[in-house]
């Protein structure tokens, strides 16, 4: 497989905070149209892996490529959509859902350029995908936590990225929002060919749609295969299952 076929590729990546190794020889790839989930216990290095993959932190050794380029050299950064862990909104943030979503398209058109004619259409489409069209003029601080998270997913979608990286996007989100979230991801991934890397403890909402599951433990990849292979061993990917921490300790 040529390097450029991967939307995201990490080869033997190492990263440490002082002497404490957080990522210890991690290799991972996500291809176009592939829906990959990354999971693991707290402190396993998931968030560090996301930062390194997105170019927010440089690996101490190993290689990271986004669409065949090292992150710093990728000129078309809009090809990468990112939904961070629950964003901390400023109290009284006076911004509508529409304004927040539209802010995701600024980089693609050029930061100093005025909105183009088709920009509102992109915003409309992104809002439709997350089922927030009727809330577009509502201040974002008036939405529920789940709705706010859907707005941030729409912000990531508005630049029509080819790789979507989501870091714990559904932690504590209501069931309806989880279903909407699942529909949005599956549509982008399996219909539009977007590569998706979902980092989450809660995989129940998307368990049936995953192409691959990667389990990280102690900074190492201890499982990288289809979810069916894991569930065949009697392991559940359900939401908030009491056995969740147990199965995370199990593989490898």
């Amino acid at each position: 497989m040529p390097l450029t076929a991967d939307a995201l590729r990490l080869d033997d990546v190492r990263y440490a905070y002082g002497r404490h190794a957080v990522l210890d020889g991690v290799s991972l790839h996500v291809r176009a149209g592939e829906f990959v989930a990354l999971t693991g216990p707290n402190g396993s290095g998931k968030s560090t892996l996301v930062r390194v993959a997105l170019g927010l932190s440089a690996p101490h050794s190993g290689e990271v490529h986004l669409f065949g380029e090292v992150p710093g050299a990728l000129r078309q950064r809009w090809r990468v959509g990112y939904v961070p862990q629950r964003a901390m909104l400023v109290d009284h943030l006076p911004a509508t859902v529409e304004e927040v979503v539209a802010s995701g398209g600024v980089a693609r058109r050029g930061w100093a350029r005025r909105p183009r004619r088709d920009d509102p259409v992109r915003v409309d489409r992104a809002l439709e995908v997350v089922a927030l069209s009727d809330q577009r003029r509502v201040p974002i601080t008036e939405l529920s936590g789940g709705q706010q998270q859907r707005a941030f997913i729409a912000r990531a979608l508005v630049s029509e990225p080819e790789l979507l990286v989501l870091d714990e996007p559904i932690a504590g989100v209501d069931v309806e929002s989880q279903a909407r979230f699942r529909d949005a991801l599956v549509t982008r991934c399996h219909q539009d060919g977007v590569a998706v890397l979902l980092v989450s403890h809660e995989l129940g909402a998307v368990a049936d749609d995953l192409d691959r599951l990667v389990v990280l433990r102690g900074g190492r990849v201890v499982f990288d295969d289809t979810p069916e292979k894991l569930t065949a061993e009697g392991v559940s990917l359900g939401v908030h299952r009491t056995d969740l921490p147990v199965w995370l300790e199990g593989p490898g």
Partner: protein, 276 residues
């Protein structure tokens, strides 16, 4: 030249004060809207104290204090933001360091001048009624620069203040935009020095924004309301100051404070009605 304006703006010194005040009343809340979202409401204070050191240096050296203040303020603002961006110091610690260094530097330089220079006081507390045509022209030029830069970059700056990390991943030049905002803050502080003084300049960056946040339901509307409250505070403040023989800088800020209190009360009432 005196324009045929009604009282209280019928005299040339009041018209120069009005022109300078309108520029500052529009620009300070405009920049302040972004600073408040970044939780850097007191940045204007820190930069103002650096500007004070620049003023003292200019008076000591016998050069225009406006331009030495601009150099000191821009250097201070850019350094504060650089420290914050590179996580060498938290935002409030970086501000505190420059806040005290600036005021101490200003005091020492003023002392070197031999005695407390009366000129320093006009910058500390503002002296909008003594603004010369040349001062007003300089303030106007600085204001046009600020408005032009904000008109071009406000959408990108909004994306950055909303979520710095996501903006960086998307490819926005976050460092350049943040340093640009810091520079605009410094330019605004210097433009506002003669109007309300360095001790009160941060008030015009924060109070109109606080009032606007309670009236607006979108970011674009917040920018418009903040400018309206800032400009309104200047016009009303100057008129009240002339009528009552009050200090204009302080009066302008008190009008902005009263507007903030009024909008907060209205907002509280609306929330109670909605909750009942």
């Amino acid at each position: 030249m005196t324009l045929p304006l009604p009282w209280p703006f019928d005299r040339q010194y009041m018209q120069l004060a009005l022109l300078s005040g309108l520029v500052v009343g529009a620009c300070a809340p405009l920049i302040g809207t972004f600073l408040v979202q970044k939780r850097l409401s007191l940045m204007g204070d820190g930069v103002g104290h650096m500007a004070f050191a620049g003023v003292a240096a200019g008076l000591l050296a016998g050069v225009s204090p406006l331009w030495t203040a601009l150099v000191a303020a821009v250097a201070g603002a850019v350094t504060i933001e650089w420290l914050r961006l590179h996580q060498r110091a938290s935002g409030d610690l970086a501000l505190a360091v420059f806040f005290y260094t600036g005021i101490a530097g200003g005091v020492v330089l003023t002392g070197l001048a031999g005695s407390l220079n009366a000129g320093v006081l006009t910058y500390l507390f503002g002296s909008v009624l003594t603004v010369s045509p040349a001062d007003a022209r300089s303030i106007f030029i600085l204001g046009v620069v600020i408005l032009a830069v904000v008109a071009v970059s406000w959408r990108a700056m909004f994306a950055v203040v909303l979520d710095e990390e996501a903006a960086r991943v998307a490819g926005l030049p976050v460092d350049a935009l943040s340093l640009g905002l810091a520079t605009l803050t410094a330019v605004t502080v210097v433009a506002a020095m003669r109007v309300v003084g360095v001790l009160l300049v941060a008030a015009l960056m924060v109070l109109p924004v606080g009032a606007a946040q309670r009236l607006a339901r979108s970011f674009a509307a917040t920018l418009r309301w903040a400018v309206a409250v800032g400009v309104g505070s200047v016009v009303v403040g100057l008129a009240v100051a002339r009528a009552g023989g009050l200090a204009p800088g302080g009066t302008i800020v008190l009008v902005a404070s009263a507007t903030f209190a009024l909008t907060s009360t209205i907002d509280l009432g609306r929330r109670r009605v909605r909750a009942s």
